[in-house]
Point group: C2
Chain length 355, copies 2
Amino acid sequence: MTHNFCAGPSILDKSVLNKIAQAYSDYNNTGLALVETSHRTDTFMEIIEGAQQLLKELLQLPEHYEVLFLTGGASSQFYMVPMNVLNENQTAAYINTGTWAQKAIKEAQLFGNTKTIASSEEAKFTYIPKELPTTDGFRYLHLTTNNTIYGTQYRSGYPQVNCPLVADMSSDILSEPRDMTQFDLIYAGAQKNLGPVGSTIVIINKALLGQVDRKIPTMLNYQTHINRGSVFNTPPVMSIYGCYENLKWIKEQGLDNIRDRNKAKAELFYNTVDKLSCFYTTVAKEDRSVMNATFHIKEEAASQAFEELCKEAAIVGIKGHRSVGGFRASMYNALKLESVEALAEVMNQIEAKFG
Amino acid sequence: MTHNFCAGPSILDKSVLNKIAQAYSDYNNTGLALVETSHRTDTFMEIIEGAQQLLKELLQLPEHYEVLFLTGGASSQFYMVPMNVLNENQTAAYINTGTWAQKAIKEAQLFGNTKTIASSEEAKFTYIPKELPTTDGFRYLHLTTNNTIYGTQYRSGYPQVNCPLVADMSSDILSEPRDMTQFDLIYAGAQKNLGPVGSTIVIINKALLGQVDRKIPTMLNYQTHINRGSVFNTPPVMSIYGCYENLKWIKEQGLDNIRDRNKAKAELFYNTVDKLSCFYTTVAKEDRSVMNATFHIKEEAASQAFEELCKEAAIVGIKGHRSVGGFRASMYNALKLESVEALAEVMNQIEAKFG
């Protein structure tokens, strides 16, 4: 059994993968593979509407939220959010918790003013800044709920704000029950806990829209996709189908159980790091991500031995992001506790030899 | 056997579908499904680079062309082309051959001036306008090589122009050998002859870029994706893999053979329409599309009987686009001659009863 710690595209449950594979032959006795089927058919409309409904149900979204299936990844939302929401003379506040937040700030600057009201850059993004100045007067505050590269995550609630709250939830949406009504706009690339790579989910409080002066290209206007139920043009059919199947899997598991399992995996991992002298993490204890645990090994020789042992144990995707080095264990919903046990076992072996 | 005449997403060869399905379990003995694999791995880099190389080979593209795998469909290229190429004080020429051309014109108007230098709108888009005024002084001329909705296609070459030529080739790229060096920018949604829905191919003569004044969001700048080989952010991994497998299939078949087969299918279909009194097409003979044949049935009773017989014969996706009504037989590369024979057989049965 391979233990898949990839940061994304990442692990999905086997049952979900089998469903998608099956849809490439005969889908639901239609005589066609789903990928060969028009997106205007009842067959596909049931899938996309089902996926939207189920996501609303799992996230307990009130009626005034819309769920969109778009493309282009979270990277496209970095500019689509300000393009749709921020006027040229307005200011959007950002919390800088690392690479993805910085990219979001850079794109917003093309459309209006931005102000970074909190940052952990001075400490190499090893914590989540919690003290914020007032958010009065900002068009919105943008934050990244989980920082895949640095291994930090909001673990004890989100800031209380006096402006709309926008969140990049790419790497921790649906990892636990969460009050989504705190947020006015949420976006996430599908390829972690939502489903297979290829679509991007945007959840919007409709009240946020219709207030910018600029002309927006049709495909980049959220309203286009709201009006047409995300099928204005050909959507990423197979990714949306995979999301639907994965959402059904999440529902079967129960989001409470998923949270408990994610917590158990993270506890096992961080307890192992804390107990072993060869390993360390620079992330502030209260901000350690349940999804992406970043860590380091003190000695180069131990580091090499660790990589070799991981390979032997079929542990893959454990290298840190190329911009920060070190190691990273991504422990998304579909990763089993036994995979973290396998990793802990390898870490203990390293400790026995180098500790 | 189901006969799939869907206009898109559309038929792919079974061998290609089987390859993609297989990649959802263990890909190439990596122990992981491809969809669970990071796009930064050698595994995926071989796929995307392989697909780019193979597309260049099949289309015989010289070195100064770049091949990009993006998302958002051709609908996103309607604005990305002018955003990247057309300055505010410049004018782009368009040929209006129907819905998709009109949508492209609408988006270009957000970025600069447009001039429709030829149109078949007065004849409900039943032909391709061939007489053009001079194209001196335009930033580019944009045309749609095949019009999926109206069933028209450039069959006897493209206009000679004095400016760069831009083409939406969504529904007929790779349907025949074609001199691509006539064009400076070509775009196409993948979901017809290129591969499975979920990616969008852009082919650019690099000389066209770097000449606009506006600031372009990072993700919308062609140069971003050229610089990063289409993996600036997480690309649509599975659609790209499917394209690669489909391109390999095209290479095995040979593009000459594909052209001959497409021609044989179209001839059988149009000969049948021309010979039978119950059926007709409004498309000018010389502009009839080899990919999407639109047609009508004179009597309502015959029309209903036709739909029923199609159902019995497992002929699907035969209804015309909702904006024009009637019927449409999309005959993409993977459709077999026997499927057109099955359709012709049903048409002959209708003639026997209603003719």
